[in-house]
């Protein structure tokens, strides 16, 4: 038993934090759902990360990665998120690449992995459809066999960053007659091809984060099939040996909490005392810190299990439910703490903490919905984790 990082891991953290400290402030705090200029800067950071080898920190050495331990990956994510550094590549390095390493052909790996590793390409993920959300396996987008091509028609929704992506990996139904999990295939395509149309979806915080992607008889070469035909559900669901601890959530929350503590100590209320002297405020700050420590503990546990080759099924779902709720709670409290100022948008005259609390309060509404709703996660904990019978 050891509840601390190794000296080597701490050294890595120190090196990373030093690099972050030296990074130009212009790069910090950028949202990838922000302006085109923010996005361009994010890509610059991505290439810096590629140069440092950190973009593929978690890739096996044979694929040009660092083969870093699970805990180093955790540290990397934790510090990057805590310091609001953009540039990590969720879809390419963390989702598609590992999938190709397991299920891809040699040609696919050769073609797609190097640009991802260099930070030269942006992928997006086409899973959800308008009628297939939590019940993803009911997806209906059709791919019809046309010799050496599939012809794909239908639409994908909630496609983050599609408007900035060069490529998309997506699931289609190749056998409409098979049971729903068994007629799905996993395909790759460029986005800039005939028949693909991308429509923006603006979220309630006013950001262009999502898109709906329409496919109208898009021709996808069969060489772009990953894994076997009709086995796409299992390709997508492969349990990958990459960090999925959910450490992002407590890191993001700790950052917000630290900002709020500093704010509460520095800002005087109408009584003339700092807000941090208000008993309710103190209580809520303490409760949030307990929540952060709780969530971080489970995230570390997930990583520790993964590091030992165990499959953290219920623990990963616990980390997700705890983490998403935490990130919501901390920003909701943040808006509370700012009182009347809490409702001012980023950029508004007189906004406090640059309106970040409000922006995140709105943005995090989706956290308990996307990537498996809290309800689905609790089902998983109960059935897969505790062995309760399915309903």
């Amino acid at each position: 038993m050891r509840y601390e990082f190794t000296a080597e891991e701490e050294q890595f953290r120190a090196e990373l934090v030093e690099w972050i400290d030296e990074l130009d402030d212009d790069y910090k705090g950028l949202s990838e759902a922000g302006s085109d200029d923010d996005w361009a800067k994010s890509l610059e950071v991505r290439r810096m990360l590629a140069d440092k080898g950190w973009l593929t920190l978690h890739w096996p050495v044979e694929y040009g990665g660092q083969g870093a331990s699970m805990m180093k990956q955790v540290i990397f994510t934790e510090e990057m998120v805590y310091h609001s550094i953009p540039g990590r590549d969720g879809f390419g390095t963390r989702m598609l690449a590992p999938t190709l390493m397991v299920h891809g052909t040699e040609e696919q790996r050769k073609e797609y992995l190097p640009p991802i590793a260099r930070g030269d390409v942006q992928w997006c993920q086409g899973y959800s459809e308008p009628d297939s959300g939590s019940d993803l396996a009911s997806l209906q987008m059709r791919a019809v066999d046309d010799g050496d091509h599939y012809v794909v028609t239908g639409s994908k929704i909630w496609t983050s960053q599609a408007h900035r992506a060069d490529h998309i990996f997506f699931l289609v139904r190749t056998d409409p007659d098979a049971p729903k999990h068994r007629g799905i295939s996993f395909l790759l395509s460029e986005t800039n091809v005939p028949g693909i149309r991308i429509e923006p979806i603006i979220n309630m915080a006013g950001h262009h984060q999502f898109n709906q992607v329409f496919f109208d008889e898009v021709r996808v070469p069969k060489a772009n099939l990953v894994g076997e035909e009709n086995r796409g559900w299992y390709v997508a669901a492969t349990l990958l040996d990459f960090e999925r601890s959910g450490i992002d959530y407590p890191a993001q929350a700790q950052r917000a909490l630290d900002e709020l503590i500093a704010y509460a100590k520095g800002m005087k209320g109408v009584t003339g005392l700092p807000l941090s002297e208000d008993p309710d405020t103190r209580r809520r700050l303490v409760d949030l810190q307990i929540q952060v420590d709780s969530t971080r503990g489970v995230a570390y546990e997930v990583a520790d299990m993964q590091g030992r080759g165990e499959i953290p099924n219920k623990e990963a779902s616990m980390a997700k439910t705890l983490g998403t709720r935490l990130v919501q709670d901390v920003h909701r409290f943040g808006v509370d703490l700012l009182g009347m100022y809490g409702q001012l948008r980023p950029g508004s005259y007189l906004s406090q903490l640059d309106g970040r609390m409000l922006d995140a309060q709105l943005g995090t509404v989706a956290y308990t919905i996307f990537a498996g709703t809290t309800e689905i996660q609790k089902n998983i904990i109960a059935t897969r984790g505790l062995g309760l019978p399915r309903g």
């Binding site: 009911s138 999502f210 109408v270 009182g339 009347m340 409702q343 001012l344 948008r345 508004s348 919905i369």
Partner: protein, 378 residues
């Protein structure tokens, strides 16, 4: 005990629903968010024609002379529609201020215009920490030759850019508790240079502004109520406004629950309506329960104010509750709606954004909990 609506109240509810159905939809609400002043003159006139701008104004002053209960019934519908514009600020806060504390001259000058939809008022109270507390006022008014010289800037003045008259709170005496040293003034917006008004970009449609009153001089008869007695008057104005805000929040909460009930009946996943899932049923039933509680607490407080009863405890309870639960109901609605409710195109977010503002107007839940503690003798 009789918790039902009177015929008059039912009639107001019905006409309000008819009016909203005919004139206000969510496209209109969205469009108005980028309207220049926030006041759509045409709709504003229509509200006056319905008799609503003057609902709280005594018949002797040309209004309908109805009670806060009727106003609450109306506001519940406005909250459910997220009606944009200066109605609340003028017909509730402004009308109460002038009708209850105005001199005869002030009533004659302003109330008919307010009833006719020719006057938009705005409360200029908060500063600095923006606490809903007399101590927040640092602005001053000092006697000058011609009247009073004002000084100081106000924040979170609702509809600041579109107001015709500000109700301005200033210290008129530097010693003594703030409770005994504030005075209210009616300040004509024409007195202010447009550069004195800076818009704040808020999540909701309150059109807040910072308004700088430095250098403005007002005549002696601009005083609303008595010198140094501004706080008791303002407290009354804020209390009525708080109760009215609860009714508006109740309407928004009701809409969020209704939308959720509709959605979970229609949306299907795993081959069945998601409303058949017990987790969805339970969350929705909790939201509906919160709504029912909010209705009881809100109307009880409003009834007590309208009937001249001692209302402090009930009003603070209603506001503490609605301020907590309106956002919570909206969060529940979002969770039940899934991704679609998170988009700007969907109407749900209109209500969750309204909640973020309404809940802190006139003091947040903690502010009202402190009042409850006092009322409980703690």
């Amino acid at each position: 005990m009789d918790l039902s609506l009177t015929d008059t109240q039912q009639m107001i509810r019905n006409s309000a629903r008819d009016f909203m159905t005919e004139h206000i939809d969510s496209d209109y609400v969205r469009k108005m968010e980028s309207h220049e002043t926030g006041t759509d003159k045409e709709i504003w006139k229509s509200l006056a024609e319905m008799g609503w701008t003057g609902l709280l104004v005594p018949e002797s002053d040309g209004g309908a002379g109805m009670s806060l209960i009727e106003m609450a019934v109306l506001l519940e519908e406005m909250g459910a529609t997220a009606l944009p514009g200066p109605f609340f600020s003028s017909a509730v806060t402004g009308a109460t201020a002038i009708a209850e504390f105005g001199s005869d001259k002030q009533k004659q000058e302003f109330l008919p215009r307010l009833v006719d939809g020719d006057l938009v008022t705005a409360l200029a109270f908060l500063e600095g920490s923006a606490a809903w507390d007399p101590g927040v006022v640092q602005a001053t008014a000092t006697r000058s030759e011609d009247g009073w010289a004002l000084s100081g800037a106000k924040v979170f003045v609702p509809g600041g850019a579109g107001a015709d008259v500000f109700i301005f709170a200033a210290r008129t005496s530097q010693d003594g508790a703030p409770e005994d040293s504030l005075t209210l003034f009616l300040v004509d917006a024409k007195q202010l240079d447009s550069s004195a008004i800076k818009s704040l970009d808020s999540i909701s449609d309150d059109r807040f502004a910072e308004v700088d009153f430095d250098g403005v001089t007002v005549p002696p008869d601009a005083i609303l109520g008595e010198i140094d007695q501004g706080w008791p008057a303002l407290k009354r104005i804020l209390d009525v406004s708080t109760a009215a805000k609860c009714a508006e929040m109740l309407g928004g909460s009701r809409k969020a629950v209704d939308m959720t009930v509709e959605y979970v009946k229609e949306r299907s996943q795993f081959g069945r309506a998601i409303g058949t899932f017990q987790a969805v049923q339970h969350r929705t039933s909790e939201m509906a329960t919160d709504l029912e509680v909010g209705r009881q607490l809100t109307y009880k407080a409003i009834w007590k104010i309208a009937e001249g009863k001692d209302y402090e405890h009930d009003l603070a309870t209603a506001m503490a509750y609605m301020s907590d639960r309106f956002p919570e109901i909206c969060y529940g609605a979002h969770q039940m709606h899934g991704a679609i409710g998170f988009t700007q195109e969907h109407d749900l977010q209109i209500y969750s954004r309204r909640a973020a503002s309404a809940r802190v107007m006139f003091g947040d839940a903690n502010h009202h909990r402190k009042i409850i503690a006092e009322q409980m003798g703690l």
